[in-house]
Amino acid sequence: MSDENILSESATDRRGFLRGAGLAAVSAALGAPIPFGEHFPDGLVPVALGQDGGVPTIPGKDGVRVLNDRPINAETVVTELDDDFTPNAKHFVRNNGIMPDRANTGSLDGWSLTIDGEVKKSLTLSMDDLESQFKRHEAALVIECGGNGRAGYNPPAKGNQWTLGAVGCSRYAGVRLRDVLKSAGVKDSAVYIGYESEDLHLSRDPSKKPISRGVPIAKAMDEHTMLVWEMNGEPLPALHGFPLRLICPGWPGSTGGKWLKRIWVRDQVHDGAKMTGTSYRVPRYPVAPGTDVPEEDMEIIEEMPVKSIITRPASGIVTKLSEQLALRGHAWSGFGDVKAMHVSVDFGQTWTKARLRKPVNPYAWQRWTASVSFPKKGYYEVWARATDKQGRMQPMLVPGWNPKGYLNNAMQRIAVKVV
């Protein structure tokens, strides 16, 4: 079975198949909002749907596992996150809508960034303006989806079932958002910023936005919050927001809009798509798994908790008793640097301190390495645990259940057989 390229003609072809099939399936596949669902003709069935199409792939991406192709959501296989800085090809993708044509054509025609709302002077900036009027800033920044680890919650939570790989740390270049906001002059009435982007809602209804989130003005003015147009030395790839995206490091990835068009300075908490209801929110108080939580009791997620991954070796490795096993990975926290990293090979009874590098800059992840030996042959698990500056550790089990399955920072474990 050949692989299915989810951006290629074959995706269109697949829809082409449908065109000759059931009327209902045709319309469904074309995305035309025709209320045919009530009139699906019996016996006339979509054909050529018998094949699953193989493993979905995304051109330009490597080492990722596609969770969803419309919208595109793909996470990185954890062992593929071993690089010091995540290459563009390996960075996870979380799209909410349909990518704008501009991202695919790579054209800046007609593009500008608007800064307006609670500012003294609204700005309309071209890419040249951004590059020439503000000081260039570079940083390696962790972007992690708020729902990374969602697959661990039970009862299962709604949303993409990310396991470990909705995280990456790439090197970005652009400008500080605060430099741009200062140039516009933020009024005292400013409370929050909201971004607006060029992507389309999945229904293609222009009155709907797929996502429009933001952060409080203090986070927007933080020196690490950036508008970026370069990722690992290349123009921002289409999937990552060409031509410009926002990054609010340490906070859920969704706070940083891709395919950016506007930063709207608000005099209230931004109420765009996926800011309200249950999106990117957790209960204000701990709840029993499966609880129905009233929307008014949900609060917006801000900092992401301390977390780490084991990138070497892969789980399931077989190793010799006579040999030391080298372990490595990364650790990060939305609250600042990670203070310590520990590993255990005896189900958490004793812990060994791992070597932990300092981050290259705030909000970059930190490399950890360790070497362990085993007392006798048998089945082991390596557990790895990061501790942040405030002394908070990763929990052994999934942390507090929440309806949308956010903030799972449970320790990663790998299986090791010693022979």
Binding site: A24, G31, G37, D42, A48, P156, Y379
Partner: protein, 174 residues
């Protein structure tokens, strides 16, 4: 509504079946004849095989660690034909007709929710994301499919990951 009644009646007489290699629409009743014939054939072959003495078979080797992991990972892959992760069992066509205009079947396939949570999801899709109003009957058919095929998973099949899994639980992420 007339079409609705006809639809329901029609469904009872011939279950739509998705032809695995395309080109033709096959009615369930025609297909069932073929299925029965193949089943009979297999039964005959199976009986013949069972007649042979099993003594010459070597005792099954104990499962290796790797095999156990592989089996665990493959366990939830059912024999039924799937389309982008969704099982092509009765009711699949209604999900296809009402849901995949906007998003991929893979978004559905990732979820294993109770009927109540699926119902909430349909309400959200209607209120916020442009899903047309479903008749109570159509809604029931879709929910029947989702509850049957995308309900909560049992502990053993709880999580399928592409890499080997530790064998001790309870962290259900791996």
């Amino acid at each position: 509504m007339n079409t609705e009644t006809e639809h329901r009646t029609g469904l009872g007489s011939a279950t739509p079946f998705l032809h695995p290699w395309g080109g033709l629409a096959i009615r369930g009743d025609i297909l069932r004849v073929g299925v029965v014939a193949i089943a009979l054939l297999l039964q005959v072959c199976g009986a013949a095989a069972a007649d042979k003495p099993a003594a010459s078979q070597p005792a099954a080797a104990p499962k290796t660690f790797e095999q156990a992991n592989k089996e665990a990972a493959n366990k939830s892959k059912a024999a039924v034909q799937t389309f982008m992760g969704l099982k092509q069992t009765p009711g699949f066509e209604y999900v296809l007709a009402n849901c995949i205009g906007c998003h991929s079947p893979r978004l559905i396939a990732q979820h294993h929710l109770s009927r109540k949570r699926w119902e909430e999801t349909l309400v959200t899709m209607n209120k916020k994301h442009g899903l047309w109003k479903l008749s109570p009957d159509m809604k029931k058919r879709i929910l029947d499919y989702l509850a049957e095929n995308q309900g909560p998973l049992g502990d053993q099949e709880f999580k399928e990951t592409p890499w080997a899994q530790p064998l001790y639980r309870p962290n259900p992420l791996w």
